[in-house]
């Protein structure tokens, strides 16, 4: 396969992973109003879990990398473990971070979780192999199609697109369900929602854990493709790429979110590859992050409704009720 085809395939796998992330964040942020500034941690947890269950038993201190609970699980157990890891960590974090408090405190607590997680992982060698991370992660179809995912990128692409479509479809369906509607009520007015009988604590934890599961799954999908897991790649800033994508595409609108994902983490972050290299290696990466930060700030300044804003759902008419002329979209 040519270099170009490989490149495009890789981008599309990333796209599938990012769409999963963006859907998960949009469910939490766009629907439930939970500002998960620690999103990347749950994705990283899923990735780590997937890595250790496909790497095989750990060789212990003597081997070149250390980790816990090595195993060699077949598909789909690896991804289920990844999702479970994301969900479990979300649950634990959610137990304290989702307590009733000012929203900015809540966001700060989640950001702190993500800053601290990075420190712990980098420093704890027996558990996470320190800042070197793990390498040699294979993909679940090794015996059938070849040793690594990168050896069979087309297959892996189809595999990840199918998973992405199924999971995202599920997230979309849940968002449109009465449960998703309850989430929006909670987002709009917490006190009123609980005064109407919604259990806010439980709803928030549900959406946090569900989103965490999707995040973990997406992490697993990613790590099996790139074959390596290193803490440096899961910095707190990664979360904000996805947030920016959601802002650009349209908060609360999944089609918009997909477009935003295509524009921000894929097209925008890939453009520098085609520009002549400047400065020392790594300079463009740093500058990219600066631009992401600026884009984020511009989004907040101009508060765009995104390319496709959240859509108004028209009320289904009950039988025997006269139809009034529908109001104009986006009135008042």
């Amino acid at each position: 396969m040519g270099a170009w085809a490989f490149y495009i395939t890789t981008l599309l796998v990333y796209f599938a992973v990012d769409v999963l992330s963006a859907f998960s964040l949009n469910l939490q942020f766009g629907y439930a109003g939970v500002v998960n500034f620690g999103f990347i941690v749950f994705q990283a947890a899923g990735a780590y879990a997937a890595a250790v269950v496909v790497l095989g038993p750990s060789g212990g201190v003597a081997s070149f990398q250390q980790y816990v609970f090595g195993a060699r699980l077949p598909f789909p157990l690896d991804l289920l473990v990844a999702a479970a890891a994301g969900a479990l960590l979300s649950f634990v974090v959610g137990l304290f971070a989702l307590r009733r408090m000012r929203r900015d405190y809540q966001a700060a607590v989640l950001l702190i979780v993500s800053l601290i997680a990075l420190q712990v992982v980098s420093a704890d060698v027996p558990l996470f192999n320190g800042s070197n991370g793990l390498t040699g992660v294979t993909w679940p179809f090794g015996e059938f199609f070849g040793a690594t995912a990168t050896g069979q990128p087309w297959l892996y692409l189809i595999y990840s697109l199918v998973i992405c479509a199924v999971v995202c479809g599920g997230v979309w369906w849940l968002s449109r369900s009465p449960w998703g509607r309850s989430l929006r009520a909670m987002r709009d007015h917490e006190d009123a929602a609980s005064a109407m009988g919604l259990n806010i604590t439980s709803l928030r934890l549900q959406v946090f854990v569900l989103g965490g599961a999707v995040a973990g799954l997406s992490g697993g999908l990613l790590v099996e493709y790139i074959g390596a897991w290193s803490p440096g790649a899961w910095g707190y800033a990664e979360t904000f790429v996805i947030f920016t994508a959601i802002f650009v595409g349209g908060v609360g609108n999944y089609r918009g979110v997909m477009i935003g994902t295509l524009l921000v983490p894929i097209i925008f972050l890939e453009i520098p590859r085609f520009l002549p290299a400047i400065g020392y290696p790594g300079l463009t990466d740093s500058l990219e992050w600066v631009v992401v930060g600026l884009a984020w700030m511009l989004c907040l300044l101009f508060r765009p409704r995104g390319i496709l804003p959240e859509r108004r759902l028209r009320a289904p008419r009950a039988e025997g009720v006269a139809l009034d002329p529908a109001p104009a979209e986006g009135g008042a």
């Binding site: 849940l174 369900s177 009465p178 449960w179 509607r181 309850s182 929006r184 009520a185 987002r187 709009d188 007015h189 006190d191 009123a192 929602a193 609980s194 005064a195 109407m196 009988g197 919604l198 259990n199 806010i200 604590t201 549900q206 569900l210 609360g252 959240e310 108004r312 759902l313 028209r314 009320a315 289904p316 008419r317 009950a318 039988e319 009720v321 006269a322 009034d324 529908a326 109001p327 009135g331 008042a332």
Partner: protein, 270 residues
């Protein structure tokens, strides 16, 4: 049937009965914010079919009392019973599920949901919208959705709000927001309704209709506790009036005798 509102099967329409057992009872309720005692040893009871008004100057503790009853504000002392159940330490949503619902002083419509969605969401708080029932019992969920749809439309018709069904909460006028809050409460088949200044923002020529509506709702067997500033409204609407000042009940009884009470007049003038 338009204009007819089904309330609990147990609470068939009846005239406000003097001496019928109270449905909501609060005994010795206190609320404190730091050192401030916003509500101090307040006792109050509401019977089925009865409209009780709370009046009092600003900062008297009326909203705090409603908060303590609804569970939004932490109570420092006292016991609250709904029917024969002690609800003092229940979470707000559990109180709502037992039939105690409320509106807020600053309107609390779901701003980015349509009026229709506001109504339907309110009704399915208990079981209908749980993740488990949505995933495991899609058919029941769909069935319930149909029931709620019919109920939502009939309530909107009763309040002449069908034309706003597709408007977002944030697109409504102040008065319409008040109506949405009340309609939302009614979606839940409440036993007791707590209203915090529901007439604020309602156009003057519509208050008469709202008073009639609320009286009609009470006739169907609800207890209503209403905080209201306009004495004219209180006079027309309430069976009994409770006057609060500085966190305490300073008078209670029929409107006419209460407003003539020198203590009350002093509290209002000071």
């Amino acid at each position: 049937m338009a204009g007819q509102l089904a309330v609990d099967a147990s609470s068939s329409p009846e005239t406000p009965a003097v001496g019928s057992p109270p449905v909501l009872v609060a005994k010795g309720v206190g609320v404190g914010y730091g050192g401030v005692r916003a509500v101090d040893d307040v006792s109050i009871s509401i019977s089925k079919g009865e409209v009780v008004g709370i009046i009092g100057p600003n900062g008297a503790g009326k909203s705090s009392l409603l908060g303590a009853l609804g569970g939004q504000v932490k109570r420092t002392q006292g016991v609250i019973t709904l029917g024969d159940r002690d609800i003092s330490s229940l979470m707000p949503h559990d109180r709502a599920r037992l039939g105690l619902v409320r509106t807020f002083q600053t309107t609390s419509e779901f701003a980015r949901m349509t009026v229709y969605e506001n109504l339907v969401t309110a009704a399915e708080g208990d079981r209908g919208a749980s993740l488990r029932s949505v995933v495991l019992h899609p058919r029941q969920t769909a069935q319930r959705e149909l029931e709620l749809r019919a109920r939502a439309w009939s309530i909107m018709e009763r309040f002449e709000m069908t034309h706003t069904a597709d408007l977002y909460g944030r697109e409504l006028s102040g008065g319409q927001r008040r109506l949405v809050e009340i309609m939302r409460c009614l979606m839940r088949h409440p036993r007791v309704l707590l209203l915090d200044e529901p007439m604020v923002g309602v156009a003057p020529h519509l208050t008469g209709k709202l008073i009639d509506d609320l009286r009609g709702i009470a006739q169907e067997g609800l207890g209503i506790l209403i905080v209201e500033h306009a004495l004219e409204v209180v006079r027309k609407l309430c069976d009994r009036v409770v006057v609060m000042a500085f966190g305490k009940v300073i008078a209670a009884g029929e409107f006419e005798e209460v407003v003539r009470d020198p203590v009350v007049q002093a509290a209002y003038l000071s």
